[in-house]
């Protein structure tokens, strides 16, 4: 119901050959410019916050491609979970912006050269004739078909991922807790790690 209403609004207002490329250009710039700022920002909190518009724009690209469920998951998991986790980690360590501390290592030049080389090679490959694709196929009932696929032929991958998530949850708690509190009477040579 809401989906069909949305389709009507979308088709009547935003269809046509003008708005769609405009939205694509805006979302692409919204992905790439914050990504550059993530890579270059001196303040770690700013870098973590610049991750947000980048990930939201990626969710917008998913919406343009017709993967609504994936856009929702992207916003929930990345923007709501991972960015907050990264912000916590930044604040628990002393990664806050200090203008005197170098934020890039000695291989800044070679790192940029390597990244540009990778981009150049891939972009050169993308200009080949083989990538001249036709128009995208029309899709419908994406979420329902995705659910059928996840709990049908790919249920093993689904279950394995859930087990991995559980293992990662327990493992991250165990690792982040650090050394257990020293037993009374024991040698407290590692007491500096206590909470």
């Amino acid at each position: 119901m809401i989906g069909s209403l949305w389709n009507v609004i979308w088709n009547s207002v935003f269809s046509g050959s003008f708005w769609y490329p405009l939205a694509f250009v805006c979302l692409s710039l919204g992905v790439l410019i914050p990504a550059v700022l993530v890579a270059l920002s001196r303040n770690m909190v700013h870098a973590a916050l610049w991750l947000l518009p980048c990930l939201v724009s990626v969710a917008g690209l998913y919406l343009m491609l017709g993967a609504e469920l994936l856009a929702g998951i992207q916003i929930l998991v990345y923007c709501g979970g991972i960015v907050v986790l990264i912000l916590f980690a930044v604040m628990l360590t002393h990664g806050l912006g200090d203008p005197d501390v170098r934020v890039h290592n000695q291989q800044l030049l070679w790192g940029v050269v390597a990244a540009m080389a990778v981009a150049g090679v891939v972009l050169r490959l993308l200009s080949q004739e083989i990538w001249q694709s036709g128009p995208p196929v029309a899709v419908s009932e994406v979420t329902g078909r995705l659910a059928d696929a996840l709990l049908g032929p790919y249920v093993l991958a689904f279950e394995v991922v859930s087990v991995i998530l559980l293992a990662a949850l327990i493992g991250s708690i165990v690792i982040a807790r650090g050394d257990a509190a020293p037993e009374p009477g024991a040698d407290d040579s590692d007491a500096e790690a206590g909470e």
């Binding site: 979308w10 694509f24 993530v38 998951i73 986790l85 990264i86 029309a138 991922v161 991250s172």
Partner: protein
């Protein structure tokens, strides 16, 4: 979704390539381990965009692209949790999170 889509597939692929290169640059050049992790997240997002693009512009019958993308997102969440826990532990041990100062195998 029957709106006219006039975006060529290469436009999406160019965006994801540039995003991957930016993430690679962050991984290779940042000193802070958390910033390296952010670069990894950018690279994972670039790969995810490719999965969805090839799902949409490909055959259109199967849902493998979206299944892969969802799996990648779940594994990225697990990886971020584990990596940040390790970074916290390293910070507790070495009092730094700069990857070029963490050069001892034993704490």
């Amino acid at each position: 979704m029957n709106e006219p889509m006039v975006i060529p597939i290469q436009a999406y692929l160019i965006v994801s390539t540039l995003l991957f290169a930016i993430g690679l640059m962050a991984v290779l050049t940042r000193r802070n381990a958390i910033a390296v992790l952010m670069g990894i997240e950018l690279m994972l997002n670039a790969a995810n965009i490719n999965f969805v693009v090839f799902w949409r512009y490909g055959g259109g019958q199967g849902m493998e692209g979206l299944v892969f993308a969802i799996t990648v997102i779940a594994l990225a969440a697990a990886e971020a949790a584990i990596a940040l826990a390790i970074i916290l532990n390293v910070y507790r041990r070495f009092k730094t999170v700069n990857v070029d100062q963490i050069n001892l195998m034993r704490g």
